[in-house]
Amino acid sequence: MVEIKIALVGQPNVGKSHLINSISGATLHVGNFSGVTVEKKEVEFERNGYKLKLIDLPGTYSLHPYTPEEKVTKEFLINEEYDLILNVVDSNQLEKNLIFSWQVADLNKPMVIAFNMYDEYSRAGGEIDTDKFFKLTNIMAQNVSAKENFGLEELFEKVIKTYQQKNTPRIYYSEIIEEEIENIKEKIKNCKFDKRFISIRLLEDDEDIYKIVHEKPWFVELLPALNESKKVIKNEYDNDDLKEIFFEERLALAKGIVSQIAKKAQKEKISEKIDKILIHPILGLPIFLLVMWIVFQLTFSVGALPAYYIGEGFSAFGNWIGNLMPNGLFKDAIVNGIIPAVGTVVMFLPNILILFLGINLMEQTGYMARAAYVMDGVLKRFGLQGRAFIPLISGFGCSVPAYMAARTLKNPKDRLITMLVIGFMSCGARLPIYVLLVSAFFAPSIQGDVMFAIYIGGALTGLVVAKILRSVLFKGEPEPFVMELPKYRFPKIKSLLFDLWIKTKMYLKKAGTFIALASLTVWFLSSFPRADIIKEYSYKIKHAQGIEKIELKKEMNQKILENSYLAKIGKIIAPITKPLDLGWREDVALLAGLAAKETVVSTMAVLYNGGSSSNKTLIEKIRNAMPFTAAVAMIIIVMFYSPCVAAMSTFYAEVPELAWRIFYTIYPNVFAYFAALIAVSLIKIFS
């Protein structure tokens, strides 16, 4: 089957992700992380005997890239092999979007345009004549709605037709410019790129293209002609800025064409009205804090209900399996090692899903960008900028996509500072640890507030650290802040559910593989060596009666644990954490947390619970075994110390400098230790 490889491009927020999700019968290779489109996503599906392969490129305003993501798009469009460009355009912003389309059209590749959000546009009285658009530009176009699922099949028919006919755009600029393009084109000899494209980009001072061609043998001859042409254009337009000249040229072209093909829609007024309240100069900030408070309250209180049943379910499952299996090491490993640990982790799935739902809703409705606007003034004071808010808030979900979202910050310093404090935003995987400790040590009436305080406390500390980093390590101007505020929209339920489904799948997969393995390891380390102890007790147990038998078994298990490899490891680091009142079990759990934060709770379950995955008994046990100060210390350490391996490797992948990697690896742990030490000392002084 013939494969058509399609580059999917568009300005940010035009609905590319929605379009991909709406294609029926498609297999989707969503990188690891959904949410903000940062990484490359690919979809494959069949239509009319062709295999269509869509590659989603990061949202891009212009081919004069500003952010690292935009560079990715540009590099892909210029250097990669693909058959066709599918450009998604927001019908509500035709002129602004088409300026980008013309730049893409210059590439002279087969191209199709999708006028998306047509549902909204036509409801507001707008109309687009795609036939006329084709006549004017030679680009086949289709009005579609990714949200209400219309026009997509017709769009793919046009894609196939464009591919078959090798139909390329015909976009012409004004005569003066076209003349100079011709002059330059003549001078370009052998080159794998399109000559017209190269000429245009050279004329508008595109440094990337300049770098590509300036080593060619024919460039020596081209240069004088190029300079001459530039001079002519500058003179004609009475402007020294060629980029601006070309921009205005494209804007004029867009306006001209839009006036011929489109009936204007009525201006939407609702967003402005909602903004009157939500980003009110005085009310904006309190409203934002209230929204966040509600999200966390729901996460904690509603999420607790299903959690109980999931815990009970795993407990019952463990008993059932236990009865089916013959006694022995294998049964021990499954029933006491894996099932309770995986159960404890899965139990927190509802909490995590609610939190993600909250973040997704904010993103989909358009409130997220407002929050960045509202927060900018605050963040600026800490040496960050409003846009840093998005990676920071994503950090509450998971640090991995948060580190990647930091790519939207262009200035390397801003980016690095933001990335260094993302870890202080408590990720979803840390939630179970807080839930466990808070339920064990705080009265039910204040649990929600304590949780809120943990999250806000972590975030505020992160901001203060950012400020310190900014004034000590990174002096200099903060990055400019210019950001579009999209319209308010009702989210598409299917898309929200789809995102949650992917999160669930990933979480369960992690629970079933990585965490199962980790807890098996913890179980092994905590159950061996044990031959001597078993020998010693098996005789006693054999001859004991009733209650005594159970008591002896408990004693034996306790002894095995205390002599285990794990206890030895814990005891080595115990002196360090002694001032924090942490025992070796907590130490081991925290160490395990470096692999994945979920394993902190599962390790506690194995070490304290020795077999039961019921949350109730675990809470009872740690309440009896740990002093209050230890619980506080543990919470604080979890708030600040290094995130999991996955997050750390993402950071390493994003930050090439060795010095920063080392700094990032060490400082959160030192910080966490001393923060916990101070808190514990304070509690002791005041009680």
């Binding site: 305003y61 912003q93 980029k243 201006k267 400019p480 210019v482 950001m483």
Partner: protein
């Protein structure tokens, strides 16, 4: 007059973008072109951040960036 000097509800025509590259291209690509009308919808209490409308598109920007945009105020 610069964009940051406009008050809430006031509008003007863009005369010139003073920003340097690459910010200038960024502002252009978001629609801040000469001859377009821009209206200040909102700003934060301390006038740190602005919410403006250019060609029907809502854009948030800081005072520092707004200062780079020269406008002629409408009456």
């Amino acid at each position: 007059m610069r964009l940051n000097e406009l008050n809430m509800g006031e509008s003007g025509i863009i005369k010139k973008i003073h920003a340097k590259e690459p910010l200038k291209s960024k502002l252009l690509s978001m629609g801040f072109a000469r001859g377009e009308r821009v209206k200040v919808l909102k700003h934060t209490l301390a006038k740190n951040t602005f919410d403006v409308d250019v060609n029907g598109i809502n854009i948030a920007l800081r005072e520092e960036e707004a200062r780079e945009i020269e406008v002629e105020k409408d009456n």
